[in-house]
Amino acid sequence: MSAQLDNRIRVFRAEKRMSQSDLAEAIGVSRKTISTIEVGRFVPSTIIALKIANYFDAPVEEIFSLKVSEG
C-alpha cells in the first residue's frame, strides 16, 4: 500500500484569483516550490503546508490529503 500527497492548492488559488508567484511571495517560498507542490513533484514540509493553510484560512486537511493506492 502506497500513499501519495494530493492537494487542492490550484483550486484555492483560482478562488482567490492569484498566481503561483503571488502565493509564493505571500508565504515566503519560490514560485518553483509552489508549482512543484501543485503537480505533486515536491512534498512540502509541515511548515509550508501550514503556512499555505493559514494563508487560505482553511484547515490543512482541506488542502492536502492522502491518496492511498494498493500495491
Binding site: 519560490s30 514560485r31 518553483k32 516550490t33 508549482s35 512543484t36 515536491f42
Partner: protein, 157 residues
Amino acid sequence: MKKTMSCAEAIDHLNGKVAWGMLFMGVTYFLRAAEQLVEPGAVNSTLDIVSGITMVTSMLLTFWAIWPVAKLKIGNKLINQPEGDSFLTDAMNMSFKNSWIITFMTTTLCLAFQKFMDDWGLPVSFYLIFLFGFMAVTASLSFFYLTKKDDLEDLEE
C-alpha cells in the same frame, strides 16, 4: 520598473548557479587529472590552458551565484528568513546524497580492481583529483536531472 527578487527566489537562483559552478569545477579537476596522464608537451599545455579557463569560469559562476543573495544581505533586505525548505534546496540535498552513493559504489568497485590499478603506477594525487571532480560532476548532473523542466508545472501558472 524592475521587480525586486524575493529572498526565496534569490536562494533558488543560488542553488541553480552553484550546480553550474560544481559542473565547471568538476570538469576542471578532470582536466587536471588528465594532465597527469600525458607527458609534458603540447597536449599537456593545452589541458593546462583549458583547465585554467574552466577554473576562472567556475570562479565567475560562484561570484554570479552569490551576488544576488549578498546584495540582499548588504541592503538589509534579507530580514525575513525565507522558508528553508524549497524544491531546489531539496533537489540540491538529494543531489549531494546521490553523489555520495555513486562515489561510494565507484570507490568500492575500484577497490575490487585495486591490484590492476596498482600496475598503472599513477600518483595518489591523480586519484584524489579525479575523485573530487567525480563527486562535483555527479552532484551537479544529478541536480540538473532532478530539476529538469516539467511542462505541466508551467501550465498550472
